[in-house]
Protein backbone atom coordinates (compact mmCIF):
# COMPACT_ATOMS: atom_id res chain seq x y z
CA UNK A 1 0.00 0.00 0.00
CA UNK A 2 1.15 3.50 -0.74
CA UNK A 3 1.48 6.07 2.01
CA UNK A 4 -1.65 7.88 0.76
CA UNK A 5 -3.72 4.82 1.61
CA UNK A 6 -2.31 4.75 5.15
CA UNK A 7 -3.16 8.40 5.60
CA UNK A 8 -6.77 7.82 4.41
CA UNK A 9 -7.16 4.83 6.72
CA UNK A 10 -5.78 6.78 9.67
CA UNK A 11 -8.13 9.68 8.94
CA UNK A 12 -11.11 7.28 8.78
CA UNK A 13 -10.19 5.67 12.09
CA UNK A 14 -9.70 9.06 13.71
CA UNK A 15 -13.07 10.34 12.49
CA UNK A 16 -14.88 7.21 13.70
CA UNK A 17 -13.26 7.55 17.12
CA UNK A 18 -14.12 11.27 17.19
CA UNK A 19 -17.78 10.48 16.32
CA UNK A 20 -18.09 8.04 19.21
CA UNK A 21 -16.49 10.53 21.57
CA UNK A 22 -18.72 13.37 20.32
CA UNK A 23 -21.93 11.35 20.80
CA UNK A 24 -20.70 9.85 24.11
CA UNK A 25 -21.49 6.36 22.84
CA UNK A 26 -20.17 3.58 24.97
CA UNK A 27 -20.47 0.29 23.07
CA UNK A 28 -18.84 -1.52 25.99
CA UNK A 29 -21.95 -0.98 28.09
CA UNK A 30 -23.96 -3.12 25.65
CA UNK A 31 -21.72 -6.07 26.41
CA UNK A 32 -21.74 -6.07 30.20
CA UNK A 33 -23.28 -9.08 31.92
CA UNK A 34 -26.01 -6.92 33.37
CA UNK A 35 -27.16 -5.37 30.11
CA UNK A 36 -27.03 -8.70 28.33
CA UNK A 37 -29.31 -10.16 31.00
CA UNK A 38 -31.67 -7.20 30.66
CA UNK A 39 -31.83 -7.57 26.86
CA UNK A 40 -32.47 -11.28 27.11
CA UNK A 41 -35.25 -10.66 29.60
CA UNK A 42 -36.85 -8.12 27.25
CA UNK A 43 -36.66 -10.47 24.26
CA UNK A 44 -38.15 -13.34 26.27
CA UNK A 45 -40.96 -11.08 27.48
CA UNK A 46 -42.28 -11.01 23.88
CA UNK A 47 -42.99 -14.74 23.89
CA UNK A 48 -45.36 -16.31 23.29
CA UNK A 49 -47.29 -14.22 20.72
CA UNK A 50 -50.87 -13.41 21.61
CA UNK A 51 -52.82 -15.79 19.36
CA UNK A 52 -56.22 -15.37 20.95
CA UNK A 53 -58.89 -15.34 18.28
CA UNK A 54 -60.07 -11.95 19.40
CA UNK A 55 -56.64 -10.40 18.89
CA UNK A 56 -56.09 -12.26 15.60
CA UNK A 57 -59.32 -10.69 14.36
CA UNK A 58 -57.92 -7.27 15.15
CA UNK A 59 -54.63 -8.20 13.45
CA UNK A 60 -56.58 -9.25 10.37
CA UNK A 61 -58.37 -5.95 10.35
CA UNK A 62 -55.09 -4.07 10.79
CA UNK A 63 -53.52 -6.03 7.92
CA UNK A 64 -56.44 -5.22 5.64
CA UNK A 65 -56.18 -1.58 6.65
CA UNK A 66 -52.45 -1.55 5.80
CA UNK A 67 -53.08 -3.16 2.41
CA UNK A 68 -55.93 -0.75 1.70
CA UNK A 69 -53.86 2.30 2.67
CA UNK A 70 -51.02 1.21 0.38
CA UNK A 71 -53.32 0.25 -2.51
CA UNK A 72 -55.33 3.48 -2.49
CA UNK A 73 -52.20 5.53 -1.83
CA UNK A 74 -50.41 3.95 -4.79
CA UNK A 75 -53.45 4.24 -7.06
CA UNK A 76 -53.83 7.94 -6.26
CA UNK A 77 -50.08 8.39 -6.78
CA UNK A 78 -50.26 6.69 -10.19
CA UNK A 79 -53.00 9.04 -11.38
CA UNK A 80 -51.34 12.15 -9.93
CA UNK A 81 -47.92 10.97 -11.18
CA UNK A 82 -49.17 10.48 -14.74
CA UNK A 83 -50.88 13.87 -14.72
CA UNK A 84 -47.62 15.51 -13.62
CA UNK A 85 -45.44 13.32 -15.88
CA UNK A 86 -47.08 14.64 -19.06
CA UNK A 87 -45.97 18.26 -18.50
CA UNK A 88 -42.71 17.05 -16.90
CA UNK A 89 -41.87 15.17 -20.12
CA UNK A 90 -42.07 18.50 -21.97
CA UNK A 91 -45.36 17.91 -23.76
CA UNK A 92 -46.80 21.31 -22.86
CA UNK A 93 -43.74 23.50 -23.33
CA UNK A 94 -40.61 24.39 -21.39
CA UNK A 95 -42.32 26.45 -18.68
CA UNK A 96 -44.78 23.69 -17.80
CA UNK A 97 -41.90 21.21 -17.86
CA UNK A 98 -39.86 23.16 -15.32
CA UNK A 99 -42.89 23.78 -13.10
CA UNK A 100 -43.96 20.12 -13.11
CA UNK A 101 -40.41 18.98 -12.37
CA UNK A 102 -40.27 21.39 -9.43
CA UNK A 103 -43.52 19.97 -8.02
CA UNK A 104 -42.29 16.39 -8.51
CA UNK A 105 -38.98 17.13 -6.79
CA UNK A 106 -40.79 18.77 -3.89
CA UNK A 107 -43.17 15.81 -3.45
CA UNK A 108 -40.33 13.32 -3.71
CA UNK A 109 -37.82 15.04 -1.45
CA UNK A 110 -40.12 14.92 1.60
CA UNK A 111 -40.08 11.36 3.04
CA UNK A 112 -43.29 9.42 3.64
CA UNK A 113 -42.90 9.65 7.43
CA UNK A 114 -42.69 13.45 7.34
CA UNK A 115 -45.68 13.61 4.99
CA UNK A 116 -47.53 11.29 7.38
CA UNK A 117 -46.73 13.50 10.39
CA UNK A 118 -47.95 16.54 8.44
CA UNK A 119 -51.09 14.73 7.24
CA UNK A 120 -51.92 13.52 10.76
CA UNK A 121 -51.95 17.16 11.74
CA UNK A 122 -54.05 18.09 8.72
CA UNK A 123 -56.45 15.13 8.51
CA UNK A 124 -56.33 13.69 12.00
CA UNK A 125 -55.13 10.29 13.26
CA UNK A 126 -56.01 7.26 11.15
CA UNK A 127 -55.77 5.65 7.71
CA UNK A 128 -56.75 8.77 5.76
CA UNK A 129 -53.54 10.52 6.81
CA UNK A 130 -51.45 7.48 5.89
CA UNK A 131 -53.10 7.19 2.48
CA UNK A 132 -52.48 10.85 1.68
CA UNK A 133 -48.88 10.65 2.86
CA UNK A 134 -48.12 7.65 0.63
CA UNK A 135 -49.96 9.20 -2.32
CA UNK A 136 -48.00 12.46 -2.14
CA UNK A 137 -44.51 10.99 -1.80
CA UNK A 138 -45.13 8.17 -4.30
CA UNK A 139 -46.60 10.61 -6.84
CA UNK A 140 -43.26 12.44 -6.78
CA UNK A 141 -41.28 9.24 -7.35
CA UNK A 142 -43.61 7.70 -9.90
CA UNK A 143 -44.14 10.98 -11.78
CA UNK A 144 -40.42 11.31 -12.31
CA UNK A 145 -40.10 7.72 -13.56
CA UNK A 146 -43.16 8.12 -15.82
CA UNK A 147 -41.75 11.35 -17.26
CA UNK A 148 -38.50 9.62 -18.14
CA UNK A 149 -40.37 6.72 -19.71
CA UNK A 150 -42.43 9.13 -21.80
CA UNK A 151 -39.32 11.03 -22.91
CA UNK A 152 -37.64 7.80 -24.00
CA UNK A 153 -40.68 6.45 -25.89
CA UNK A 154 -40.29 6.54 -29.68
CA UNK A 155 -42.02 9.59 -31.17
CA UNK A 156 -42.75 8.18 -34.66
CA UNK A 157 -46.02 6.30 -33.99
CA UNK A 158 -47.77 9.33 -32.48
CA UNK A 159 -46.28 11.66 -35.11
CA UNK A 160 -47.55 9.43 -37.91
CA UNK A 161 -51.04 9.48 -36.41
CA UNK A 162 -51.02 13.26 -36.08
CA UNK A 163 -49.95 13.46 -39.74
CA UNK A 164 -53.13 11.60 -40.65
CA UNK A 165 -55.18 14.17 -38.76
CA UNK A 166 -55.53 12.45 -35.42
CA UNK A 167 -56.11 14.75 -32.45
CA UNK A 168 -53.15 15.06 -30.08
CA UNK A 169 -54.87 13.16 -27.28
CA UNK A 170 -55.77 10.16 -29.45
CA UNK A 171 -52.32 10.12 -31.05
CA UNK A 172 -50.89 9.85 -27.54
CA UNK A 173 -53.28 7.05 -26.54
CA UNK A 174 -52.81 5.04 -29.76
CA UNK A 175 -49.20 5.85 -30.57
CA UNK A 176 -47.36 6.39 -27.28
CA UNK A 177 -49.31 4.59 -24.55
CA UNK A 178 -48.90 1.03 -25.92
CA UNK A 179 -45.14 1.55 -25.79
CA UNK A 180 -45.03 2.82 -22.22
CA UNK A 181 -47.84 0.95 -20.44
CA UNK A 182 -45.74 -2.10 -19.47
CA UNK A 183 -43.14 0.16 -17.90
CA UNK A 184 -45.78 2.20 -16.07
CA UNK A 185 -47.44 -0.94 -14.72
CA UNK A 186 -44.09 -2.35 -13.58
CA UNK A 187 -43.14 0.87 -11.78
CA UNK A 188 -46.56 1.11 -10.10
CA UNK A 189 -46.47 -2.49 -8.88
CA UNK A 190 -42.95 -2.04 -7.57
CA UNK A 191 -43.93 1.10 -5.70
CA UNK A 192 -47.01 -0.65 -4.32
CA UNK A 193 -44.79 -3.35 -2.92
CA UNK A 194 -42.60 -0.70 -1.23
CA UNK A 195 -45.70 1.14 -0.01
CA UNK A 196 -47.15 -1.92 1.74
CA UNK A 197 -43.99 -2.10 3.83
CA UNK A 198 -44.08 1.65 4.30
CA UNK A 199 -47.76 1.62 5.30
CA UNK A 200 -46.90 -0.85 8.05
CA UNK A 201 -44.38 1.66 9.42
CA UNK A 202 -46.46 4.81 8.91
CA UNK A 203 -48.83 3.73 11.70
CA UNK A 204 -46.09 4.63 14.18
CA UNK A 205 -46.86 8.32 13.63
CA UNK A 206 -50.57 7.54 13.98
CA UNK A 207 -51.49 6.89 10.35
CA UNK A 208 -53.46 3.67 10.92
CA UNK A 209 -52.91 0.01 10.08
CA UNK A 210 -50.52 -2.55 11.57
CA UNK A 211 -47.94 0.12 12.47
CA UNK A 212 -50.38 1.89 14.72
CA UNK A 213 -51.18 -1.42 16.49
CA UNK A 214 -47.46 -2.07 16.95
CA UNK A 215 -46.93 1.39 18.36
CA UNK A 216 -49.86 1.05 20.80
CA UNK A 217 -48.88 -2.40 22.05
CA UNK A 218 -45.24 -1.38 22.58
CA UNK A 219 -46.23 1.82 24.39
CA UNK A 220 -48.57 -0.13 26.68
CA UNK A 221 -45.89 -2.85 27.31
CA UNK A 222 -48.07 -5.54 25.68
CA UNK A 223 -45.06 -7.37 24.22
CA UNK A 224 -47.02 -10.55 23.40
CA UNK A 225 -49.35 -8.57 21.19
CA UNK A 226 -46.44 -6.60 19.69
CA UNK A 227 -44.84 -9.89 18.62
CA UNK A 228 -48.08 -10.93 16.90
CA UNK A 229 -48.06 -7.65 14.96
CA UNK A 230 -44.40 -8.13 13.98
CA UNK A 231 -45.10 -11.67 12.75
CA UNK A 232 -48.10 -10.39 10.77
CA UNK A 233 -45.93 -7.67 9.16
CA UNK A 234 -43.26 -10.22 8.23
CA UNK A 235 -45.81 -12.56 6.65
CA UNK A 236 -47.40 -9.68 4.77
CA UNK A 237 -44.07 -8.53 3.33
CA UNK A 238 -43.07 -12.06 2.26
CA UNK A 239 -46.43 -12.67 0.57
CA UNK A 240 -46.43 -9.28 -1.15
CA UNK A 241 -42.86 -9.69 -2.44
CA UNK A 242 -43.75 -13.01 -4.01
CA UNK A 243 -47.08 -11.85 -5.42
CA UNK A 244 -45.60 -8.67 -6.87
CA UNK A 245 -42.72 -10.48 -8.58
CA UNK A 246 -45.16 -13.00 -10.06
CA UNK A 247 -47.58 -10.29 -11.22
CA UNK A 248 -44.88 -8.16 -12.83
CA UNK A 249 -43.57 -11.14 -14.70
CA UNK A 250 -47.04 -12.02 -15.93
CA UNK A 251 -48.07 -8.49 -16.92
CA UNK A 252 -44.86 -7.19 -18.43
CA UNK A 253 -43.36 -10.27 -20.06
Amino acid sequence: MRSVHWIVLAALAASIWASFAFLSLNLGELLTVESRALMWKYVVSFFAPDLSSEYLMRIGQGTLETIAISAIGTALATVLGLLLALPAAGRFGIVARAAARLVLNFLRSIPELVWAALMVMAAGLGPFAGTLALALHTAGVIGRLFAETLENAPAEPAQALRLSGSPRSLAFLYGTMPNVVPQLVAYSLYRWEINIRMAAVLGVVGAGGLGQMLYFSLSLFHQHQALTVIIAMLLLVVIVDGASAWLRQRLVG
Binding site: L161, G165, L170, L173, P178, N179
Partner: protein, 272 residues
Protein backbone atom coordinates in the same frame (compact mmCIF):
# COMPACT_ATOMS: atom_id res chain seq x y z
CA UNK B 1 -54.52 20.99 -59.53
CA UNK B 2 -54.26 18.42 -56.79
CA UNK B 3 -50.67 19.14 -55.87
CA UNK B 4 -48.61 22.15 -56.85
CA UNK B 5 -45.04 22.85 -55.83
CA UNK B 6 -43.71 26.29 -56.70
CA UNK B 7 -39.97 26.74 -56.20
CA UNK B 8 -40.34 24.69 -53.02
CA UNK B 9 -37.09 24.50 -51.07
CA UNK B 10 -36.33 22.70 -47.85
CA UNK B 11 -33.12 23.26 -45.92
CA UNK B 12 -32.70 21.00 -42.90
CA UNK B 13 -31.56 22.40 -39.56
CA UNK B 14 -28.05 21.11 -40.25
CA UNK B 15 -27.87 23.25 -43.39
CA UNK B 16 -28.42 20.34 -45.79
CA UNK B 17 -30.43 21.52 -48.78
CA UNK B 18 -32.63 18.44 -49.27
CA UNK B 19 -35.10 19.89 -51.77
CA UNK B 20 -33.94 22.70 -53.99
CA UNK B 21 -36.44 24.96 -55.78
CA UNK B 22 -38.65 22.17 -57.05
CA UNK B 23 -41.67 23.11 -59.14
CA UNK B 24 -44.15 20.56 -60.37
CA UNK B 25 -47.84 19.89 -60.66
CA UNK B 26 -49.69 16.66 -60.13
CA UNK B 27 -53.31 16.37 -61.21
CA UNK B 28 -56.08 14.58 -59.35
CA UNK B 29 -56.00 10.83 -59.93
CA UNK B 30 -52.45 10.79 -61.28
CA UNK B 31 -50.07 8.01 -60.27
CA UNK B 32 -46.52 9.22 -59.91
CA UNK B 33 -43.37 7.32 -58.93
CA UNK B 34 -40.40 9.20 -57.52
CA UNK B 35 -37.05 7.51 -58.09
CA UNK B 36 -33.50 8.48 -57.38
CA UNK B 37 -30.42 7.49 -55.38
CA UNK B 38 -30.51 7.52 -51.57
CA UNK B 39 -30.11 10.99 -50.16
CA UNK B 40 -31.56 12.56 -53.31
CA UNK B 41 -34.44 14.10 -51.36
CA UNK B 42 -37.25 11.60 -52.09
CA UNK B 43 -38.32 11.27 -48.48
CA UNK B 44 -38.07 15.00 -47.80
CA UNK B 45 -40.19 15.73 -50.87
CA UNK B 46 -42.84 13.29 -49.67
CA UNK B 47 -42.75 14.76 -46.18
CA UNK B 48 -43.38 18.17 -47.72
CA UNK B 49 -46.44 16.77 -49.48
CA UNK B 50 -47.56 15.07 -46.24
CA UNK B 51 -47.41 18.49 -44.50
CA UNK B 52 -44.89 17.06 -42.05
CA UNK B 53 -42.33 19.68 -43.06
CA UNK B 54 -42.83 23.32 -43.88
CA UNK B 55 -40.91 24.54 -46.94
CA UNK B 56 -38.06 26.90 -46.10
CA UNK B 57 -38.78 28.85 -49.26
CA UNK B 58 -41.29 28.67 -52.10
CA UNK B 59 -44.81 27.43 -51.69
CA UNK B 60 -46.90 24.35 -52.11
CA UNK B 61 -50.54 23.49 -52.21
CA UNK B 62 -51.92 20.07 -51.36
CA UNK B 63 -55.45 19.03 -52.27
CA UNK B 64 -55.99 22.59 -53.44
CA UNK B 65 -54.92 24.43 -50.26
CA UNK B 66 -51.68 25.79 -48.86
CA UNK B 67 -51.33 23.77 -45.61
CA UNK B 68 -49.28 26.53 -43.96
CA UNK B 69 -51.83 29.26 -44.51
CA UNK B 70 -54.79 27.64 -42.81
CA UNK B 71 -55.83 27.31 -39.17
CA UNK B 72 -55.00 24.41 -36.94
CA UNK B 73 -58.34 22.65 -37.21
CA UNK B 74 -58.38 23.11 -40.98
CA UNK B 75 -54.86 21.64 -41.15
CA UNK B 76 -56.05 18.67 -39.09
CA UNK B 77 -58.97 18.14 -41.49
CA UNK B 78 -56.59 18.38 -44.45
CA UNK B 79 -54.21 15.87 -42.87
CA UNK B 80 -57.04 13.40 -42.29
CA UNK B 81 -57.40 13.35 -46.11
CA UNK B 82 -53.71 12.53 -46.65
CA UNK B 83 -52.54 8.96 -46.08
CA UNK B 84 -48.87 8.08 -45.84
CA UNK B 85 -47.32 4.61 -45.91
CA UNK B 86 -44.00 4.86 -44.10
CA UNK B 87 -40.82 2.97 -44.87
CA UNK B 88 -40.79 1.55 -41.33
CA UNK B 89 -44.38 1.04 -40.14
CA UNK B 90 -44.85 3.43 -37.18
CA UNK B 91 -46.89 0.97 -35.12
CA UNK B 92 -46.29 0.26 -31.42
CA UNK B 93 -45.09 -3.36 -31.12
CA UNK B 94 -47.63 -4.29 -28.45
CA UNK B 95 -50.62 -2.99 -30.41
CA UNK B 96 -52.97 -5.50 -31.99
CA UNK B 97 -53.28 -5.42 -35.78
CA UNK B 98 -56.99 -4.54 -35.59
CA UNK B 99 -56.28 -1.45 -33.44
CA UNK B 100 -53.36 -0.41 -35.63
CA UNK B 101 -55.60 -0.53 -38.74
CA UNK B 102 -58.54 1.28 -37.11
CA UNK B 103 -56.15 4.06 -35.99
CA UNK B 104 -56.16 5.15 -39.65
CA UNK B 105 -59.48 6.91 -39.17
CA UNK B 106 -58.72 8.68 -35.87
CA UNK B 107 -58.61 11.96 -37.77
CA UNK B 108 -62.11 11.43 -39.15
CA UNK B 109 -63.80 9.94 -36.11
CA UNK B 110 -65.23 12.04 -33.31
CA UNK B 111 -63.13 11.88 -30.15
CA UNK B 112 -65.54 9.56 -28.30
CA UNK B 113 -65.32 6.98 -31.06
CA UNK B 114 -61.54 6.93 -30.88
CA UNK B 115 -61.69 6.49 -27.11
CA UNK B 116 -64.36 3.78 -27.34
CA UNK B 117 -62.28 1.87 -29.86
CA UNK B 118 -59.48 1.59 -27.31
CA UNK B 119 -61.83 -0.35 -25.06
CA UNK B 120 -63.29 -2.51 -27.83
CA UNK B 121 -62.53 -2.19 -31.57
CA UNK B 122 -65.53 -0.38 -33.09
CA UNK B 123 -65.16 -1.63 -36.69
CA UNK B 124 -63.79 -5.16 -36.72
CA UNK B 125 -65.31 -6.01 -40.16
CA UNK B 126 -63.70 -2.90 -41.67
CA UNK B 127 -60.26 -3.78 -40.30
CA UNK B 128 -60.64 -7.41 -41.39
CA UNK B 129 -61.55 -6.34 -44.92
CA UNK B 130 -58.43 -4.18 -45.27
CA UNK B 131 -56.17 -6.88 -43.83
CA UNK B 132 -57.81 -9.36 -46.24
CA UNK B 133 -56.79 -7.15 -49.15
CA UNK B 134 -53.25 -7.49 -47.81
CA UNK B 135 -53.81 -11.27 -47.48
CA UNK B 136 -53.28 -11.26 -43.70
CA UNK B 137 -56.88 -11.31 -42.44
CA UNK B 138 -55.91 -14.15 -40.11
CA UNK B 139 -53.61 -11.78 -38.20
CA UNK B 140 -56.52 -9.52 -37.17
CA UNK B 141 -56.13 -10.01 -33.41
CA UNK B 142 -52.41 -10.73 -33.45
CA UNK B 143 -50.07 -8.40 -31.57
CA UNK B 144 -47.82 -6.53 -34.00
CA UNK B 145 -44.63 -7.78 -32.35
CA UNK B 146 -45.74 -11.31 -33.29
CA UNK B 147 -45.73 -10.41 -37.00
CA UNK B 148 -42.91 -10.73 -39.51
CA UNK B 149 -41.46 -7.61 -41.14
CA UNK B 150 -43.46 -8.13 -44.32
CA UNK B 151 -46.68 -8.72 -42.38
CA UNK B 152 -46.12 -5.61 -40.27
CA UNK B 153 -45.53 -3.53 -43.41
CA UNK B 154 -48.84 -4.82 -44.78
CA UNK B 155 -50.62 -3.81 -41.55
CA UNK B 156 -49.21 -0.31 -42.16
CA UNK B 157 -50.61 -0.33 -45.71
CA UNK B 158 -53.96 -1.69 -44.46
CA UNK B 159 -54.16 1.25 -42.03
CA UNK B 160 -53.78 3.75 -44.86
CA UNK B 161 -56.29 1.84 -47.04
CA UNK B 162 -58.73 2.00 -44.11
CA UNK B 163 -58.14 5.74 -43.81
CA UNK B 164 -59.42 6.11 -47.43
CA UNK B 165 -57.37 9.25 -48.08
CA UNK B 166 -57.79 11.58 -51.05
CA UNK B 167 -54.02 11.68 -51.46
CA UNK B 168 -52.00 8.48 -51.09
CA UNK B 169 -48.31 8.95 -50.34
CA UNK B 170 -45.92 6.06 -49.92
CA UNK B 171 -42.29 6.39 -48.84
CA UNK B 172 -40.35 3.34 -50.08
CA UNK B 173 -43.16 1.11 -48.83
CA UNK B 174 -41.59 -2.14 -50.03
CA UNK B 175 -37.86 -1.62 -49.52
CA UNK B 176 -37.81 -4.29 -46.78
CA UNK B 177 -40.11 -6.77 -48.52
CA UNK B 178 -39.34 -9.59 -50.96
CA UNK B 179 -40.01 -8.94 -54.69
CA UNK B 180 -43.18 -11.04 -55.10
CA UNK B 181 -44.79 -9.37 -52.09
CA UNK B 182 -43.57 -5.91 -53.15
CA UNK B 183 -45.38 -6.35 -56.40
CA UNK B 184 -48.62 -7.37 -54.71
CA UNK B 185 -48.47 -4.44 -52.26
CA UNK B 186 -47.78 -1.84 -54.96
CA UNK B 187 -50.47 -3.47 -57.10
CA UNK B 188 -53.01 -3.11 -54.30
CA UNK B 189 -52.08 0.55 -53.73
CA UNK B 190 -52.42 1.24 -57.46
CA UNK B 191 -55.80 -0.55 -57.51
CA UNK B 192 -56.97 1.57 -54.57
CA UNK B 193 -55.88 4.77 -56.30
CA UNK B 194 -57.49 3.77 -59.60
CA UNK B 195 -60.84 2.59 -58.27
CA UNK B 196 -61.31 5.60 -55.98
CA UNK B 197 -59.76 8.02 -58.46
CA UNK B 198 -57.30 9.43 -55.93
CA UNK B 199 -53.76 10.64 -56.43
CA UNK B 200 -50.90 8.29 -55.64
CA UNK B 201 -47.34 9.52 -55.17
CA UNK B 202 -44.82 6.79 -54.35
CA UNK B 203 -41.10 6.95 -53.81
CA UNK B 204 -39.51 3.67 -54.84
CA UNK B 205 -36.05 2.24 -54.61
CA UNK B 206 -36.61 -0.47 -57.23
CA UNK B 207 -36.74 1.15 -60.66
CA UNK B 208 -38.42 -1.83 -62.33
CA UNK B 209 -41.43 -1.52 -59.99
CA UNK B 210 -41.73 2.17 -60.79
CA UNK B 211 -41.54 1.60 -64.56
CA UNK B 212 -44.02 -1.24 -64.42
CA UNK B 213 -46.79 0.31 -62.31
CA UNK B 214 -46.65 4.07 -62.83
CA UNK B 215 -47.57 6.18 -65.88
CA UNK B 216 -45.40 9.07 -64.72
CA UNK B 217 -41.84 8.85 -63.41
CA UNK B 218 -40.06 11.70 -61.65
CA UNK B 219 -36.33 11.19 -61.18
CA UNK B 220 -34.63 13.31 -58.53
CA UNK B 221 -30.99 13.85 -57.82
CA UNK B 222 -29.43 16.30 -55.38
CA UNK B 223 -32.82 17.71 -54.38
CA UNK B 224 -33.75 18.67 -57.92
CA UNK B 225 -35.91 17.09 -60.61
CA UNK B 226 -33.70 15.36 -63.17
CA UNK B 227 -36.53 14.21 -65.43
CA UNK B 228 -40.32 13.97 -65.36
CA UNK B 229 -41.48 11.58 -68.06
CA UNK B 230 -43.77 8.67 -68.86
CA UNK B 231 -41.90 5.36 -68.46
CA UNK B 232 -41.63 4.66 -72.19
CA UNK B 233 -39.51 7.76 -72.62
CA UNK B 234 -37.20 7.03 -69.70
CA UNK B 235 -33.99 5.81 -71.28
CA UNK B 236 -31.25 3.60 -69.96
CA UNK B 237 -28.82 6.52 -70.15
CA UNK B 238 -31.08 8.72 -68.02
CA UNK B 239 -31.27 6.06 -65.32
CA UNK B 240 -27.52 5.43 -65.43
CA UNK B 241 -26.91 9.12 -64.97
CA UNK B 242 -29.50 9.40 -62.20
CA UNK B 243 -27.82 6.70 -60.15
CA UNK B 244 -24.24 7.54 -61.22
CA UNK B 245 -23.33 8.78 -57.74
CA UNK B 246 -24.55 5.59 -56.06
CA UNK B 247 -23.36 2.70 -58.21
CA UNK B 248 -22.77 1.59 -61.74
CA UNK B 249 -26.00 -0.41 -61.87
CA UNK B 250 -29.57 0.80 -61.64
CA UNK B 251 -31.27 -0.63 -58.51
CA UNK B 252 -33.98 -3.20 -59.21
CA UNK B 253 -35.83 -5.71 -57.10
CA UNK B 254 -33.60 -8.75 -57.58
CA UNK B 255 -30.62 -6.65 -58.62
CA UNK B 256 -31.12 -8.08 -62.11
CA UNK B 257 -29.83 -5.85 -64.88
CA UNK B 258 -32.53 -3.55 -66.23
CA UNK B 259 -32.66 -3.02 -69.93
CA UNK B 260 -35.09 -0.22 -70.59
CA UNK B 261 -34.89 -0.56 -74.37
CA UNK B 262 -36.44 -4.01 -74.29
CA UNK B 263 -40.20 -3.56 -74.00
CA UNK B 264 -40.40 -7.04 -72.52
CA UNK B 265 -39.13 -5.86 -69.16
CA UNK B 266 -41.64 -3.11 -68.78
CA UNK B 267 -44.58 -5.10 -70.06
CA UNK B 268 -43.74 -8.29 -68.20
CA UNK B 269 -46.91 -9.36 -66.39
CA UNK B 270 -45.74 -9.20 -62.79
CA UNK B 271 -49.07 -9.57 -61.15
CA UNK B 272 -52.20 -11.31 -62.35
Amino acid sequence: MNIRLDQATLIHANGNRAVNAVSCEIAEGERVAIIGPSGAGKTTLLRLLATALRPTAGSLSVLGVDPWRIGRSALRRLRSRIGMVHQAPPIPPRQRAVTAVLAGRLGQWPLWKGLASLVYPVDIPGARQMLARMEIADKLFERCDQLSGGQLQRVGVARVLYQQPDLLLTDEPVSAVDPALSDRIIGELVREATTRGVTLVASLHAVDLALHWFPRIIGIRGGEIAFDLPPVRVTDAMLKELYASESTVVPTQDNLPLTVQSPGVRRKPMCS
